[in-house]
Symmetry: C3
Subunit: 208 residues, 3 copies
């Protein structure tokens, strides 16, 4: 019961943060109101929709209006904030922390659903990570940016670490629900540490 409520709240925070980040990307790219809305919604829901497609389910976001309404509020927030402060908040802590909460919540729901479909170890990692970062990748593709999840710092890696932890917990016969909580805490902690310490992964080539 308590766990459910925690995830419910984390999910809403995540949808709002992802929608704000996506809408701001669209605003800065000079999209019109519709384009901004699409960017915001796709950033918030794109990961979950991709996950549902991969396990052959009609996307939750199409069946129930809740998530879309929350995302629309995020889009509206982004526009208001941009008009009032005329400022990009997507790299500030005020948005990075909610974004980390969203990454954590989405990764965990992805891992849980993956487990229910009895996919392989790698399947769990892929579905969990895609649920977490898929929305950002889709919005970057729509804007012709190399997806920042593939180039920058320690972001998708947090999802992978969380998904592996989840799988190890389940293997060790930890209760399903507790495994999910552990997964979400690990993603959140690792991401926050990564932000604070400016972690990044090794590269092998610099383009110029």
């Amino acid at each position: 019961m308590i766990t459910e409520n925690i995830f419910f709240i984390m999910n809403i925070i995540g949808l709002l943060a992802f929608a704000v980040v996506g809408s701001l990307k669209g605003i800065k790219k000079g999209l019109d109101l519709l384009g901004i809305t699409v960017l915001g919604i796709m950033t918030a829901l794109g990961g979950g929709i991709t996950r549902d497609l991969l396990v052959n389910t009609i996307p939750y976001a199409l069946m129930y209006p809740n998530d879309i309404i929350v995302s629309l509020i995020g889009v509206w927030l982004a526009i208001v904030v941009f008009k009032v402060f005329n400022e990009d908040i997507s790299n500030k802590y005020i948005i990075q922390i909610p974004d980390a909460i969203g990454l954590s919540a989405f990764t965990t729901t992805g891992a849980m659903i993956a487990f229910n479909f009895e996919v392989s170890f790698f399947g769990v990692i892929i579905l969990a990570t895609l649920t977490g970062v898929g929305g950002g990748i889709i919005s970057d593709i729509l804007l012709q940016k190399t997806p920042s999840a593939l180039t920058e710092d320690f972001y998708a890696s947090c999802s992978i670490i969380g998904a592996v932890s989840f799988y190890l917990c389940i293997l060790s016969n930890v209760n399903f629900e507790i495994s999910a909580v552990i997964c979400s805490i690990i993603v959140l902690m690792v991401r926050i540490v990564a932000i604070l310490c400016k972690w990044s992964l090794p590269k092998f080539y610099s383009e110029k």
Copy 2:
């Protein structure tokens, strides 16, 4: 019966127009014959394929050859027109009006199928709009353009208005088929007015 025939004709006009527009994009980008064909086919069929994926159906375009044959004729038309007139007709009325008819037909079929799968209000709008503009978005992504449906004038908005009308009609107990006809007429009318009056949506930021 008459309705079916009208949709049958609208669908063919739309496929032809979308295939011509997509192929011309490919020709101008310097793609080879295969690339041009793929662009034309994906612009014509991409929206419907995306819709079918989202509702977990094997895409109609894979099961039956009709739509692909019509699209191939569109590709061939585009190449002939380009060789003969050496001219980009994609922004001329001669292609914009058939394109509007296609947008209208595709939006309506999207809304009808969405309704049959009992998705939410937003689900109807998303599926109807994606069916209408998804092909153009896919071809823009293949060519590294920010999808024009997200940046330019009043295009996807026509689909949204049509889908909302469709939903309102159904809610008001209007007959399913009549709702579809109303939807398609509204999309077509709004789009033609938008072309003539050069409507556009507000933006909040200009990139430079």
Copy 3:
């Protein structure tokens, strides 16, 4: 039995070659270790995943770990080769021939699966070709390149020729398994000839 073993080996060679090519693309684009891994895996598995999505199956790559492990070995190989030789081998015969074997194996499995789902003639061609070239297209999209399968020389065309041969064999009542072998031989031969003779398709417009 022998056929199965041949396909098993061709599939592994193809996965390795595709993963190496994809990872090298990522290395040269300056992606980090995660980005390189994603590029390598998606290039190797993207075509098969797209095919499975289109026929409404949960992707094989999510259900069983084999293909992903082979792809990861390919990613590791690419990094080692790049560190040791500091050299792009993706346009050398040492990678182009294994890549052709992969194109051949993937095209054939795509055609076989398409046939089992009773899609149309065009459906067979589309699924076979997508399985062969889809991974490369996805990785090009992630890196903002116009997919080389649509712009350059005679690559996807080999898949199309193979798929048509497969369909004609089946129509002529040739045994299913023998049709598959013929398909794979034709794709491989045509691709190798295309590399050696530098074949390309006609274009109609040069961008400058």
